[in-house]
Symmetry: C2
Subunit: 191 residues, 2 copies
Amino acid sequence: MARPKDESKIDAIYEATLRLVLETGFNGLKMADVAREAKLATGTLYIYFKNKEVLINELYYHLKKSKVTQMMSVYEPSDSFQVAFKKLWLNYFTISLNEPERMKFIEQFTHTSYLTKKTKQQGDLLLKPLEDFLADGIKQGVIKKLPVALVLSQLMGPIIEIVKLHYDGSLKITPALKEELFAMAWASIRK
Amino acid sequence: MARPKDESKIDAIYEATLRLVLETGFNGLKMADVAREAKLATGTLYIYFKNKEVLINELYYHLKKSKVTQMMSVYEPSDSFQVAFKKLWLNYFTISLNEPERMKFIEQFTHTSYLTKKTKQQGDLLLKPLEDFLADGIKQGVIKKLPVALVLSQLMGPIIEIVKLHYDGSLKITPALKEELFAMAWASIRK
DNA sequence: TTATTAGATGAATATTTATTCATTTATATT
DNA sequence: AATATAAATGAATAAATATTCATCTAATAA
């Protein structure tokens, strides 16, 4: 029996934080700036997020979850490994190019101490379906027998770097180039 | 006719800054902490570096230069492309594993606004010999015909990710694994 | 040996910024 | 409508920190 929280504010805060964090990093992020950008009073921020650290951790999980969900949405278990792999890779690459901010944010925090152990764990958990998929490829003898984490690094690494180049404006990605990059990724992990 | 600067202090400052920046990022870096860690008074820092931004920019260039120099030191022009490529790749990978802090620092700042245009330019210039080497491989028809920046991303990307895994303690790199990773890198860019 | 000069010091200053809280406002229930 | 409750506000507070500067110290050169 009172005024309800306006859930749309959470999205506005997330959006503002994402944009500003990429400019400044965690410590450079000003709560007052987030508030202004999200069109709220600073005090209102603290109704939705206990403090700056919590805000970052929740945004991290939110972004990682939305990204992984979007990526896995094209997965069809009836596909062969190769077909599914290509769908997933192209989808992931396209998503990353289209939302480089989300990718950069996730990438920026994954290996830092701003994330709590719990957030890291929860984030890693999201990748489980993908890891299972790759583990199956190894079991089938279609891709190289290596630690799954390493296969993931081999696949993610170039994408991260290439998206950054693209983001900086120093590289234009054509459809043909995309195909070529997929071929390179596949060549590197296939048996 | 006066007391001379103690150049060894620069190294101490660099070392302290590197260690602390990896914990905290640029904005989290406290000049007072740098001074304490380098065993100087805070005021002394400002004798050697005009301010925090200059310190970071100079350290970035210093680290990138030392890394590239160390990498290129194994290059012998008389080697075939393949032989030279393997030497360079293995050397770069080993160096990165041995000095992950240096790698992480460079990687952390390369695509951010803390670096001045000038520092970025100077840093890019250091890679010229490597780019020439790769361009030659393309010309010889040994590796895929693609923008050199993209070939570099394809090669650096996995290394960066794998070094982070190793740094976090979640992956041990054996000599056999190193060979395997080289093979994957080569498979991805060979024609 | 002594004068000169620049390095070294660290407390003080000036600025920035996360978080709190007294007050106001809007909504849901009665 | 009236009331109760929680959201919203933004100025005030408290804490942190980059940089400066008056003072001291040590090395050079005459």
